[in-house]
Symmetry: C2
Subunit: 294 residues, 2 copies
């Protein structure tokens, strides 16, 4: 194919969708071209380290979206509420959840933490810088990323979306019944119908495979039915509680840079040799900001 027909092809693509271009890079090239300012180091005050016998899971909290719940989670962590509790649920293609396996009178004291917190299912778009993705989303009017997290919006409100690896605050039937004592991680196809129905508070950065490979629970909704099925939580600590050398040297790709725009483009138009059909379309949960552990 000569240069002219390549250019023509480029023009045809552009007429189909605004993000298209024959010069769209492949992901490997985008990654190779990244510079240090394309990455960010999550604030240790917003990073949770959950140690299981199998290893460490590292999570980033999203205080811009669930400030009150995160204050409560930090109180629980500071008072070592989670140490010795357990993974209580694994439902295939849905969620893994942890918390106190004991109920009612046998349940552990939540110390100075609040019992009930008003829902943080969405927030005003005021002051939130959203990098919009050119996608036709089944659930939200618009989708994109804000501060590294996937979001949906209707223009007035913005909310975190239930993509793989996102962390939520489990609740009962009452909307304000979640308080951070029980958290879940999405471990299957994005259950986006939960968006705006429950508070999301962050995402797993590292170690999610320790959760996703746990045996599924045989009880209703994947809850474990007997105590010997539970995986104990050794400890949960905030990054700021750890010595600097104990912290993971983790970097997350920024979502407000030209590099990220190129990354999204490379995931939208798949120009690797393997692809026959470059797609030219993307769905929000098929973009996960890359992680680099040094």
């Amino acid at each position: 194919m000569n240069r002219t027909s390549t250019l023509l092809l480029g023009i045809v693509f552009v007429s189909l969708t605004s993000a298209a271009s024959a010069e769209t890079p492949v992901t490997a090239d985008v990654m190779a071209a990244l510079v240090e300012t394309d990455w960010r180091q999550p604030d240790p005050a917003n990073v949770l380290y959950m140690e299981l016998p199998q290893g460490m899971i590292v999570m980033e909290l999203a205080p811009d979206f669930a400030p009150k719940n995160i204050v409560n989670i930090k109180k629980l962590v500071a008072e070592k509420y989670f140490d010795g509790l357990a993974i209580i649920r694994s439902q295939d293609n849905y969620v893994v959840q942890w918390g106190d396996p004991a109920e009612d009178d046998d349940a552990r004291s939540i110390g100075s933490a609040a019992t009930a917190i008003s829902p943080e299912f969405s927030r005003s778009t005021d002051g939130v810088k959203i990098f919009n993705i050119d996608s036709r989303d089944a659930y939200a009017d618009t989708v994109g990323f804000a501060n590294g997290f996937p979001v949906g919006s209707n223009g007035e409100q913005v909310w975190l979306t239930h993509c793989y690896g996102m962390i939520g605050v489990a609740r009962g039937t009452e909307p304000n019944s979640g308080n951070g004592t029980s958290l879940y991680v999405v471990t299957g196809h994005a259950p986006r119908h939960l968006d705006r129905n429950i508070t999301l508070a962050g995402r797993v950065l590292s170690g999610i495979e320790l959760l996703t490979t746990l045996p599924r629970g045989n009880g209703p909704l994947g809850f474990y039915e007997s105590p010997d099925e539970l995986t104990p939580i050794v400890s949960v600590r905030l990054g700021t509680e750890l010595a600097e050398q104990e912290r993971l040297d983790i970097n997350v790709m920024r979502t407000d840079t030209d590099a990220f725009a190129n990354y999204v483009k490379s995931r939208t138009f798949r120009r690797e040799d393997w692809f026959v059909e470059p797609t030219g379309r993307i769905e929000i949960c098929n973009i996960i900001p890359p992680i680099r552990v040094d």
Copy 2:
């Protein structure tokens, strides 16, 4: 709320989307109201039984969408090609894959099966009865179900979609390099950019948790790096090769009935007490036709 305002609410809903109704049933009620004709028993000639040391995985093939590949897969099964091979890959949030861990001269003979098969990435819509879903899909112009399987379409062509649990025919860079000797199952968020780039051939009906809980491979793309990480395949059999009492008495919800339309509606409008926001929207891979094992 009195009857008048309930009706008004109904009318408002209807104006927003055609499928809406204040009388939308909840899923539990739809399931409770099913009658025998709302279910189908997959043809044993299209059901694969893969036995692992951990248990049995049961899959349904979709010959309407990948006839040539499925002829080849059935040849391989009949000649016991898979017996003693292995699960060779588990990549978190993506796929589990099986096949021959040996390569080149050490690879097992494929017997009378074909080496290369022309791609079956999509097919004509002629003769395919599609139950359309009222969804705004990121990847396909329209989506729905055909013969129990999720599909995307552009009006002229129709193709199976890479939803959780769907089974595909692994291939190399050449589009015709897949032949059914290596198959994969989607085990994470739907990688829909693979649609129309690779042949899908069916879906897992039962036992997927035996695959999704396998340790992730440490090699590139989640391939296992050493022989002792491999999970051996005891055997793969077609339903017709098994005695009737060895077959799973499995029923799949039909996707061409009023009951299925109600089921989809109940997944679109979440009217269970727990939901604050009924959503009113649905994405194709968040509908998985229910299974009943008697």
